[in-house]
Amino acid sequence: MNLRVNIAGVELKNPIMTASGTFGSGKDFVDYVDLNRIGCVVVKGVAKTPWPGNQPPRIAEAYGGILNAVGLQNPGVDAFCQDDIPFLRGFDTKIAVNIAGRTIDEYVEVAERLASADVDLLELNISCPNVKEGGVAFGVDPAMAEAVTRAVKAVAGQPLIVKLSPNVTDIAAIARAVEAGGADAVSLINTLLGARIDVHRRAFVLSTKQGGLSGPAIKPVAVRMVYQVARAVHLPIIGMGGIMTGEDAAEFLMAGATAVAVGTANLFKPTATMDILDELITFMQTTGVEDVNTLIGVVK
């Protein structure tokens, strides 16, 4: 059985990736997961300098999902290079770095700093709903999305994935724009903007009022968008949004994704990535699929 897939020239041993921000840099998972079995670890968003993130509460429960307002708390690219790359290089898995920024220049600086670093892929996060300048403006405007992609691509030392926001009228238009800007792949979806009010306290649960909705609740939106984007661009797609089982992973592959990322499921089931990989293998065995690549985009 072949599980290997190829994202913009980088071969993953299997299509299971982690979704940025839900797996740290993997350190919290070594007790539960064999990191060597993960196709690619996508680390949490990294900015030029340390970001404090938002005030608590940062987490609210939603039906079949969670709302988060972490706000890209991170120790900055230097600390990342020093602490996390050596740790992850101790495992046989690919590394993708999710890049956060407030301006084109900030994104570019992080990419420049990483150009010589020992990582395999960059993921440009132009879709974080949780910081005012977390790229969300870039993610909802095709021209800005193209501009930031072009600028980062010019300095990138690794293939560039651009992560798309679902909070748009026409995600295909954004995908075409980042393709035009030189993206090597796209990943989607980031979280849906949502809010929750505590009716007893008469206040929003999250300190930021609104946050990002993730988890199984958003899966149908994600599958629809992956399908739309697969029809709009010629780039490999990393699909995510509520993946909980191997069949969920297969659903994204069939909709047109080349690989999938497991996000919120990691939070309440630390073995989620392994379980999903095992279930995907079982699904392929019982349905007679020899090569995972034959599932990609098979549903028209």
Partner: protein
């Protein structure tokens, strides 16, 4: 029996789930592995059966029964999750992950220790008292109906306050502490206003103090950076956000910034 594995999240068999007071219950479940490694002040994540509610409910470990491979939790029935827990019966299973967090620093015990609790901050103090060396004075407060008092009394003098004055002093535990001018190394768990008062008292009296904090959690084991609290540091901002689940839940009082 627990199906022990590296899953972290395990199906555990419930042995008992009895009321201790109005809206407060004690859940005893089997898990030799968790009981073997648990320390006072650590917590476990309890998961709902309702699959619309995916987040863990963090509950402190109240007692560790290593001999029988059991953990005791004491929880208040508040929201959707804890009200669901109230219906569980012996023999049924519940998904639990843990033990999580760092617990109380037993090595910091003084000759005299002042153990301060409020409401459902009280449960972790039982195992703390059991394991903490030195003399212990315990001051605890409740809305009206006290619980766990007899168990705490096994390890030291227990002073009780209730908000309505129905039992003991009227007010909260800090009123007892202040009125009597109690001193010692402080270990406290309770609502934020109480912890804030503990912090101020400890600072005024120059007492070492350790506070167990609460925050809403996404994962409970450190990966989501959801459960942060402000901890003093030397950086520009004067603080950084640290994780209650992994760096805590217990922090030295002088480090904590309540905002």
């Amino acid at each position: 029996m627990c199906q022990e594995s590296k899953t972290g999240r395990t199906h555990c068999t419930i042995l008992s789930n009895e009321p201790l007071a109005e809206g407060v219950r004690e859940l005893i479940f089997e898990s030799p592995a968790m009981a073997a490694s648990a320390r006072p002040g650590q917590f476990v994540s309890v998961y709902c059966r309702h699959q619309g509610q995916l987040l863990p409910r963090p509950i402190s470990i109240c007692e560790i029964d290593r001999d029988n491979g059991r953990l005791h939790l004491v929880y208040a029935c508040r929201g959707k999750g804890t009200r669901e827990f109230a219906d569980y019966r012996p023999g049924e299973r519940v998904d639990v992950m843990g033990p999580l967090g760092n617990g109380f620093p037993l090595g910091a015990a003084g000759e005299t220790n002042l153990i301060i609790g409020g409401g459902v901050g009280t449960p972790p103090l039982v195992e703390l008292c059991k394991q903490l060396p030195g003399r212990k004075v315990v001051a605890v407060s409740f809305r009206s109906d006290p619980y766990l008092i007899e168990r705490l009394a096994l390890y030291g003098e227990v002073l009780v306050a209730t908000r309505d004055g129905s039992v003991g002093v009227r007010g909260n535990a800090m009123k007892i502490v202040e009125d009597r001018g109690l001193t010692g190394t402080i270990f406290a768990c309770g609502p934020t206003p109480m912890l804030r008062a503990v912090q101020a008292y400890a600072a005024r009296r120059e007492l070492p103090a350790y506070l167990s904090l609460e925050e809403r959690m996404g994962c409970g084991f450190g990966c989501c950076v959801g459960c942060v609290t402000k901890i003093r540091d030397d950086g520009e901002a004067g603080f950084s956000y640290r994780k209650v689940c992994k760096d805590g839940p217990v922090f030295a009082a002088e480090e904590v910034i309540f905002s």
